[in-house]
């Protein structure tokens, strides 16, 4: 199927924007890289603003106007109160909205946060040791358990440990560095994936527009 002018323009813009961003690697402060960054930021701002505006209109205001969900008036009022920050001397009114939003947000967040990031990992570190069946799993679970205790010691003890006990902190630090190393490696793989995605867009232009290949 032949490319339409719209497709060609789209592929060209994709390729051009990728080239502009990549120019940053050659020279950090250049007009192409800065231009691409400004375009993306401005389009994103408009996109997010209009989408959220549309969402509020369709999901919140219309149900109020047709009377199906009058309770939506409360979040709308709370939202409007945020804008009192724009008037000198009236900004304190917005603190009610902040309090409401932060209070509810933190309350519901902590219910899951404590379970996810505190109780479950601790529970898992203990049950892995007792539940492991093969010798390899047992050794692995034991190492993770000891590592968890040492890493916790590293963060929690504010008293400097001396003598043989200092090795607890050394082991804890090594364990933390290993974990952070894995996270960093995952980030590198992620960045590589994005780089390949951009490279693919670059190639698409050459293949489909310049060489006339079919998608």
């Amino acid at each position: 199927m032949a490319l339409t002018i719209q497709d060609t323009m789209f592929l060209f813009i994709q390729m051009f924007m990728v080239a502009c961003v990549w120019s940053y690697l050659y020279k950090t402060d250049n007009i192409f890289a800065r231009g691409a960054a400004q375009i993306v930021i401005s389009i994103s701002t408009v996109h997010y603003f209009l989408n959220n505006l549309n969402r509020v209109y369709l999901q919140v205001l219309i149900p109020i106007m047709d009377g199906t969900r009058l309770i939506n008036i409360i979040p709308v009022l709370a939202g409007v109160l945020f804008y009192t920050r724009l008037w000198k001397g009236k900004g304190w009114i917005a603190s009610y909205s902040y309090s409401l939003s932060l209070g509810i947000g933190m309350g519901s967040l902590f219910t899951t946060y404590v379970s996810t990031n505190l109780l479950n990992p601790i529970n898992r570190a203990i049950t892995q040791v007792t539940g492991a069946t093969t010798p390899f799993d047992q050794a692995s679970a034991l190492l993770a358990f000891i590592g968890t205790l040492c890493a916790l010691s590293y963060w929690l003890f504010t008293v400097e440990l001396k003598g043989p006990t200092r090795y607890i902190l050394v082991f804890g630090r090594l364990f933390l560095m290993s974990s952070i190393g894995i996270l960093y490696a995952q980030d590198v793989v992620w960045a590589q994936s994005l780089f390949i995605g951009a490279a693919d867009k670059f190639l698409k232009f050459f293949r489909m527009v310049l060489l006339g290949a079919v998608a």
Partner: protein
């Protein structure tokens, strides 16, 4: 001293070298072997245990900036879900998601005439903790329409929604790797997790157990997206770009080792 000199190479040569290394396999695929990991096999196996007609809730974050990392996972998963006869609910949890979902479902070969019968897409709503509670407890207290503003109670347009009211009607949740804990806390239903391969995956760990759940399998990042394509048989962009990913990572590892050796050389040189 020779090692120390390596560290003085202009960084632009390294970037250019990495670019060439990435482009070569995209133009001429090499076919580096890919092994499917247990977590990916468990992800597929879990989905395949459900009979046709089961209901799967898919939490679709779909950031445009993350797309190269997650698109192969989304596409292969939707292909698998529809091929297995699942009824699919799609929750759009990011502002980009309404745009991205169309592209992903088109790539998955979805029949749009079956919208409302085989699948339903909810409008985008920011899905924080409180929103998850309300949504899972009673879908209609959160959404009154689908993403095309058709009432969820309209049996003509959305017959699928006439059987679904809350989380007890879901058989499986395909949750974002960063959000899975929320489903576990509020629902306690079977979960498989999908998402990026970055720091989000550690959230999955405490919940991952292929036998007892609640998370039975997970797929994170484009590399595992390629593995998922092999495991499901739906080959696509993931496997196509795996060569470039693998070759790029191997090269990067070599560059990091050389960089460290050069730093070591510099230190030794300083001592002399």
């Amino acid at each position: 001293m020779a090692l120390a000199k390596l560290g003085k190479i202009d960084y632009r040569f390294i970037y250019a070298f990495m670019t060439i290394i990435t482009f070569i396999p995209l133009i001429y695929p090499i076919g580096i072997p890919t092994t499917v990991g247990d977590n990916v096999k468990n992800y597929v196996n879990k989905i395949e245990t459900y009979p046709a007609g089961s209901v799967a809730l898919t939490s679709f974050s779909g950031y445009i900036t993350m797309l190269p990392d997650v698109e192969p996972i989304y596409v292969a998963t939707y292909k698998l879900l529809f091929a297995r006869g699942f009824k699919v609910l799609i929750l759009l949890t990011d502002v980009d998601a309404p745009i991205v979902i169309t592209q992903v479902l088109n790539k998955a070969g979805v029949d749009w005439s079956k919208e409302g019968i085989d699948f339903v897409i909810f409008p985008y709503m920011s899905m924080d903790e409180a929103a998850h509670v309300v949504f899972t407890d009673n879908i209609r207290s959160y959404f009154i329409n689908d993403w095309k503003l058709r009432s969820l109670d309209n049996a003509t347009n959305l017959p699928l929604m006439q059987e679904i009211y809350d989380y007890t009607d879901f058989d499986l949740v395909v949750g974002s790797t960063g959000h899975v804990s929320r489903y576990n806390v509020w629902c306690g239903i079977d979960i498989v997790a999908w998402g990026t391969g970055t720091g989000l995956l550690p959230f999955v760990g405490p919940f991952y157990d292929p036998i007892n759940g609640p998370i039975y399998g997970y797929v994170g990042g484009a590399s595992q997206g390629g593995e998922l394509e092999i495991a499901t048989g739906y080959l696509g962009d993931g496997i196509k770009t795996n060569d470039a990913k693998n070759l790029g990572i191997i090269t990067l590892c070599i560059i990091i080792i050389i960089g460290n050796l050069s730093m070591l050389g510099e230190k030794e040189g300083g001592k002399e």
